[in-house]
C-alpha cells in the first residue's frame, strides 16, 4: 500500500481514538460533514448519483497532473462526513494507489458497528465508485 495513503488512514484512526464515546464520534463526523465544500447543484445529476446508497449521494472527479480529486455531496450530513473522511485519504492520490488501497480504515475508526446495513452498503458503494473512477483514469493513462 502507498505510504501516503497508509499514513492518512492512520491519522484518521488515531483521531477517532481520542473519542471514548459513540456520541463524540458521531458529532465529529457530523462536523466533518458540515465542513465539506458545497457541491454545485448542477453537478447533482442522475449520472453522478451513486447507486446502492439509501441516501442520495452524488460524486464527480477531476484529474490533474496524474492525481485524482473527488467532489461529492449527500442529503445526509453524516454521509457527507464519511465522504470527507474518504476524500482526506483519496484526494490528490494517484489512480494506481487508490486502486491498490484496501480502504478498510473506516472499520478501525469504530464507526462501522454503528452504521446500519443500508448505510454501510452505501459506504461500500461509494468506495467502489471511487475505485472505479481511479481504475478508469489508470487504464486511460496506460493506453496513452
Amino acid at each position: 500500500m502507498n505510504q501516503a495513503i497508509k499514513d492518512i488512514e492512520q491519522e484518521i484512526i488515531d483521531d477517532f481514538k481520542l473519542f471514548d464515546e459513540w456520541a463524540e464520534k458521531y458529532e465529529y463526523v457530523i462536523e466533518l460533514g458540515r465542513k465539506l465544500p458545497i457541491m454545485d447543484d448542477t453537478l447533482k445529476t442522475d449520472s453522478n448519483k451513486i447507486k446502492g446508497c439509501q441516501s442520495s449521494v452524488w460524486m464527480t472527479t477531476k484529474f490533474t497532473d496524474g492525481r485524482i480529486y473527488f467532489e461529492a455531496d449527500s442529503d445526509s450530513t453524516f454521509v457527507k462526513g464519511l465522504i470527507a473522511l474518504l476524500m482526506k485519504v483519496m484526494n490528490g492520490q494517484k489512480p494506481e494507489d487508490i486502486v491498490a488501497a484496501p480502504l478498510d480504515f473506516i472499520n478501525q475508526t469504530g464507526l462501522t458497528t454503528h452504521i446500519a446495513q443500508t448505510r454501510s452498503n452505501g459506504l461500500m458503494a461509494m468506495i467502489k465508485q471511487m475505485k472505479l473512477y481511479a481504475l478508469g483514469y489508470q487504464m486511460k493513462a496506460e493506453t496513452h
Binding site: Y26, E27, F78
Partner: protein, 409 residues
C-alpha cells in the same frame, strides 16, 4: 381505575432488557412496532422447555413428548381465547404475519383468484401485505387495486365502496398501520365487503399488542399476526381462518404432520389446522408465545389502552410544538406510533443521533414504501410505544429531537 393509576414501574421490572444500559445510558426503547421486548416469564418458559421437556411432539409415546405436546396444544386454545375464535382448529401456527398472508395468497388465492379478478389492498399496507398479492396477481393475470387514503393517512371509505364490484374476489387490509399509526375501520370494511360476498383478511401485526381483538365481532375471514410483536419470541405467529374457508383450501407446504397417510400412489391430508403445519413445529417458541399471551391476558386491557392513548396524546402534543417537525399520519383514530420528519434533516442522521443518547427509534420507509411515496417523502423517524414506556422517556425523546435539530440543521 384510571390510566394514571397504572403502575408502569412495576410492569417495567418484568422486562429485563428495559434495565439495560446503552452507551452507559439507560435504554429508551421506542421501536416496539418493529418488535416488542419480552417479559421474564417468556424467557423462563424457553429455558424451562429446553432444560426440562424438549421433545418432538404429537407422535411420541414418551413422557417428554407427551408433556411438550400438551403444552404446545394448550397454546392453540390460549390463542383461540385471545382472539375469540370459535374453535382452536381455526388457529394455524405459522412463522409470522408474513407467512400467514403468503399462506392465504398461495393456498386460498391460487384456488379462488382467476384472470381478470380483482384483489383489494390499501395504500398504507406493509410490504408483507403487498408483495404476496402482487405475486399472486402476476401469476393469475388478476388485478391489484388500491384503496386510497387521504392526507391524514385515513382510508377514504367512499372510494373503497366504489372499488367493490363483481370481479372483486379478495380484500386484505391492515388493522393498524405500522408507519402511520392509523387504526382502520376494519369492522365496517368487512361488513361492506360481505355484502358483496368478498372475504377479508386482516393484517393484525400491530393491532394485537394494542387492541382487544375479536375475530367473531369483526367477522373477518382471515387474520394474521406475529408473536414477536406481542411480547412473544421471534419465529412464530398465527393465521386465523374461518373453519369453512380453511377446510376448502388446498395444503400449503407438504411434509410430516400435515398428512393423514402417505403412499407413492395416494396421499391424504390431515384435518385443519394440521393440514397447514408441515414439518416439525416451532415447539419451544409456540410454548413461550403461550406465556406471552398469559402475560398480556393478565393485564387490564382497558387500562392499558387508555394508558397508551395518554402516551400517544402526550408525545403528539410535545412534538407538535417543534416547528421544524411534521407528523406524518394524523388520523383521528391512531395507536402506538408517531412518525415524523424534520425539515431539511435526513431521517437516518437524526435516528443515529438519538441512538447516541440511548434512544431506539426506527427511520426509513418501515416496509411501507408506497405510503412514503404517497406523502412524497423518503421515510420518517418513527417512535412506537408499548404500555411499558413512560412519559419520562417521551420527554427524553422530545429533548433529543430538539438537540438533533440544533445539531443537524
Amino acid at each position: 381505575m384510571t390510566a394514571t393509576d397504572f403502575d408502569v414501574e412495576s410492569i417495567r421490572k418484568d422486562f429485563p432488557i428495559l434495565s439495560q444500559k446503552v452507551y452507559g445510558k439507560p435504554l429508551i426503547y421506542f421501536d416496539n412496532a418493529a418488535t416488542s421486548q419480552k417479559p421474564q416469564a417468556v424467557i423462563d418458559s424457553l429455558v424451562k422447555y429446553y432444560s426440562e421437556y424438549n421433545a418432538n411432539i404429537h407422535r411420541g409415546v414418551h413422557y417428554l413428548s407427551q408433556k411438550a405436546s400438551i403444552a404446545y396444544d394448550d397454546v392453540r386454545t390460549k390463542v383461540q381465547r385471545f382472539v375469540n375464535a370459535e374453535t382452536d382448529k381455526e388457529i394455524v401456527f405459522v412463522r409470522g404475519t408474513t407467512e400467514g398472508i403468503n399462506l392465504v395468497a398461495s393456498s386460498y388465492g391460487r384456488k379462488n383468484i382467476a384472470a381478470g379478478d380483482e384483489v383489494l389492498i390499501s395504500a398504507m399496507e406493509h410490504h408483507s401485505n403487498i408483495v404476496p398479492w402482487q405475486l399472486l396477481c402476476e401469476e393469475k393475470g388478476a388485478i391489484l387495486k388500491i384503496i386510497p387514503m387521504n392526507d391524514k393517512g385515513e382510508i377514504i371509505f367512499e372510494e373503497f365502496e366504489k372499488l367493490l364490484n363483481a370481479r372483486t374476489k379478495f380484500i386484505s387490509i391492515v388493522y393498524i398501520s405500522n408507519s402511520l399509526g392509523t387504526i382502520n375501520p376494519v369492522k365496517k370494511i368487512i361488513a361492506k365487503a360481505h355484502e358483496y360476498g368478498i372475504p377479508v383478511l386482516v393484517d393484525a401485526a400491530q393491532a394485537v399488542a394494542h387492541l382487544q381483538v375479536d375475530v367473531q365481532d369483526l367477522d373477518c375471514d382471515f387474520m394474521a399476526f406475529s408473536s414477536h410483536k406481542m411480547l412473544g419470541p421471534t419465529g412464530t405467529g398465527v393465521l386465523y381462518g374461518k373453519m369453512k374457508l380453511l377446510e376448502d383450501m388446498p395444503p400449503y407446504q407438504g411434509g410430516g404432520d400435515m398428512i393423514r397417510s402417505v403412499s407413492f400412489e395416494k396421499t391424504t391430508y390431515n384435518d385443519v389446522p394440521f393440514k397447514f403445519e408441515a414439518g416439525t413445529p416451532n415447539v419451544a417458541d409456540v410454548i413461550a408465545f403461550g406465556a406471552a399471551i398469559d402475560y398480556l391476558s393478565n393485564l387490564n386491557h382497558a387500562t392499558i389502552e387508555s394508558y397508551e392513548k395518554e402516551l400517544l396524546n402526550y408525545v403528539t402534543e410535545q412534538l407538535s410544538e417543534i416547528k421544524e417537525l411534521k407528523i406524518i399520519g394524523t388520523a383521528k383514530d391512531k395507536a402506538g406510533v408517531v412518525s415524523f420528519i424534520l425539515e431539511g434533516i435526513n431521517a437516518m442522521d437524526a435516528g443515529m443521533y438519538l441512538d447516541t443518547l440511548g434512544i431506539a427509534v426506527r427511520t426509513g420507509q418501515h416496509c411501507t414504501e408506497p405510503a412514503m411515496d404517497f406523502f412524497k417523502i423518503p421515510g420518517t423517524i418513527r417512535a412506537s410505544f408499548l404500555f411499558y414506556n413512560t412519559k419520562d422517556e417521551i420527554d427524553a425523546l422530545v429533548e433529543g429531537v430538539k438537540k438533533a435539530i440544533k445539531l443537524l440543521k
